[in-house]
């Protein structure tokens, strides 16, 4: 199986400071990789590097087997990105935002597909045509997830997709992520939710101060909540 995402000895500096230090991992197509780590560990930086926003100080990242810095546009076209604290346009409704950004991504969706996607993230029907300024953080997050799903890209990069969601919605999201992976999509997500990650992820990486300090593979039987939780608490929580 080929790798949808690959980081090879990747080091990144931001504002002159080393932020990622020699990290390597791979995400095979159709799998879910969860990146766990404390604040400032470099999780968001990792995602931005796959999108070609940051230049590697050494090492490289590849998307679908092609180095990102060689063809940024191609990498971005393959990826649906959900930023941390996703803010869509407040003066437009969920429908309008979805239509706008889908068009921006050159993707198409019918009205019923929009509703299906919003159903799958359980956004209240009544809210869908209201301006998004009136939304709670969770509702905004759900809309942004719906957008990532609708993009129909082979790869999803999700930065803390469940932050701001209530526990029921988190469960809902994890089920959805699994379903998308089963349909063949690759997901790299940053999360604080150790429990959820252990439920759905095929691989888990622990990131601490720019270093990969732990890796767990479901096929090797390494993923169970207790082990990962302990490792996270011991190695990656600061």
């Amino acid at each position: 199986m080929n790798n949808a995402l690959e980081a090879n000895s990747l080091s990144i500096n931001r504002s002159g400071k080393p932020v990622l230090n020699d990290i390597s991992f791979t995400v095979p197509a159709g799998e879910i990789y969860a990146l766990l780590g404390g604040n400032g560990a470099g999780k968001s930086t990792t995602l931005l590097t796959f999108l070609g926003f940051l230049e590697a100080a050494s090492g490289s990242v590849s998307v679908q087997g092609e180095q990102v810095n060689k063809n940024v546009k191609k990498a971005r076209e393959a990826i649906a990105y959900l930023p941390e604290a996703a803010t869509l346009y407040g003066h437009m409704s969920a429908y309008e935002n979805l239509r706008y950004f889908l068009d921006l991504a050159n993707a198409k969706a019918s009205d019923s597909e929009l509703n299906e996607a919003l159903d799958s993230v359980a956004l209240q029907t009544a809210a869908r045509s209201q301006h998004m300024v009136t939304y709670s953080k969770g509702m905004r997050q759900k809309t942004a997830i719906a957008l990532a799903i609708l993009r129909d890209s082979p790869i999803l990069l999700l930065d803390e997709p469940t932050s701001g969601l209530d526990p029921l919605a988190i469960d809902e999201f994890n089920r959805l992520a699994r379903k998308l992976a089963d349909q063949g999509r690759t997901i790299l997500m940053v999360t604080h939710d150790v429990y959820g990650a252990c439920q759905v992820a095929d691989r888990i990486g622990l990131l601490r101060r720019g270093k990969l300090v732990g890796a767990f593979d479901r096929t090797e039987g390494e993923i169970d909540t207790e082990t990962v939780h302990r490792a996270f608490a011991e190695r990656a929580s600061t």
Binding site: L48, V72, Y81, E84, H91, Y100, D103, N106, R151
Partner: protein, 413 residues
């Protein structure tokens, strides 16, 4: 096309952008209306004067007994008809005279009478369309473009948008769309005004292209600043700074520099020189007048002498000598203005607003060249009057009122 449509719909939801576009449209409309009004008033003034001028000459005619008093009491209207596009750029029509009622007396004084100081070179004029297009439109564009990217960054959306759009083309699309819409908001009132005023299609097309080019220059400047990843406030302040430099400081510096580099005599100085010459002539020996006069009119040499204390031919001879005395000043003034205008036109390349205003004034025929051309027409007409009267005055042709209708008529071309 769907990209443009998407961004157009997006823009239509953006209140601040609509506000600036609306204000631009209003400014252009007001400027066009004011310009049309001003030009129509000037046309009315000219039409009224043409009628009054004829009536008055007819009235005066009845009491005339000789050529000398005919020339003395007859005023002749000269005027510079506004072009069909003058409403858009009033230019020199605002600063220097576009009508003179002249007599066959010394001319220089009559030309500069209303003009005791030199006319200013219109670097920044009154509120006409050219003002809106050259000075205000960059400000509207700056307001529209300064925070295109920076406000998305402030909202945490920048990476998201660029990742979703797979590139930075989106900023060009948004920027150019706003630039184009601003252009339409400016040019639409201009075209309506142009159609009302009967301006030619070609002139309207050229003027529209000038405005578009000007806006594109500012779009480049704004994009360059806005791509530097500063905050909206920094972008706004920087761009306003650029505007102040290009639209205010540079024109002022050009004007001051050109004025220092090319000194020209004062219009009032010419007036004074000519009047003094005329006043002094009364007390000078007649020969002092006739000598310089005959140099210009050798064909009248045999007739250039009088024995009585007063004769009209002597009177008009010293009027002309008054002009001759002021001639070098007048030429210096004319040459100086042309030279200043030529230098200013190259220096205008340093300031897109100045260049824009000048190009529009050129289309409107309200530039310095047009103003000078009118002055030259007045001189030529005055010379025609002299050529017509002189043989009659000097050769004692018998006075006939009917012949007065054969006097040269001022024509605008």
């Amino acid at each position: 096309m769907s990209t443009v449509y998407r961004e157009f719909r997006f823009l239509m939801r953006e209140r601040s952008a609509l506000l600036w576009l609306g204000l631009a449209f209003m400014s252009a409309t007001i400027a066009v209306v004011l310009g049309l009004k001003e030009v129509s008033e000037q046309r009315t003034t000219i039409a009224d004067l043409i009628t009054a001028d004829q009536v008055e000459r007819e009235v005066v005619k009845k009491d005339l007994a000789d050529w000398g008093s005919a020339a003395y009491y007859s005023f002749h209207l000269t005027y510079d008809e506004p072009s069909d596009f003058a409403f858009a750029a009033l230019g020199q029509r605002d600063l220097s005279p576009w009508k003179h009622r002249i007599r066959m007396l010394a001319l220089e004084g009559q030309i500069y009478e209303s003009d005791t100081t030199n006319p200013d070179f219109a670097l920044i004029g009154r509120i006409d369309f050219a003002f809106v297009a050259s000075l205000l439109s960059p400000l509207f564009l700056i307001l529209l473009l300064h925070d295109l990217r920076s406000r998305e960054r402030a909202a945490g959306r920048l990476d998201f948008i660029e990742a979703t759009a797979s590139g930075k083309m989106i900023w060009r699309t948004r920027g150019l769309l706003r630039t184009t819409l601003l252009w339409l908001c400016l040019v639409l009132p201009l075209w309506v005004g142009g159609i009302i005023a009967g301006a030619s299609l070609m002139v309207l097309l050229i003027a529209s292209a000038v405005v578009l080019t000007h806006l594109l220059i500012w779009w480049l400047i704004a994009s360059w600043v806005a791509n530097k990843d500063y905050t909206s406030a920094v972008n706004l302040v920087s761009l306003i700074g650029v505007w102040v430099v290009l639209a205010v400081i540079t024109p002022a510096a050009i004007k001051a520099g050109v004025n220092v580099a090319v000194p020209i005599p004062d219009g009032g100085e010419i007036l004074l020189t000519q009047r003094e010459a005329v006043n002094d002539a009364w007390d000078l020996p007649k020969q002092a007048t006739f000598e310089p006069f005959v140099k210009r009119h050798p064909e009248l040499a045999d007739y250039a002498k009088i024995d009585t204390p007063f004769e009209w031919k002597w009177y008009y001879a010293f009027q002309q000598v008054g002009d001759q005395n002021a001639e070098s000043l007048s030429h210096a003034y004319l040459d100086g203005r042309i030279k200043r205008d030529v230098i200013t036109s190259s220096l205008a390349l340093l300031s897109p607003p100045v260049l824009t205003e000048r190009l529009l004034q050129k289309q409107a025929q309200t530039d310095v060249a047009a103003s000078i051309a009118y002055e030259e027409r007045v001189r030529a007409y005055h010379a025609d009057l002299r050529s017509w009267y002189y043989p009659k005055l000097f050769k004692d042709v018998e006075f006939e009122t009917e012949l007065l209708s054969l006097r040269p008529q001022y024509s605008t071309d």
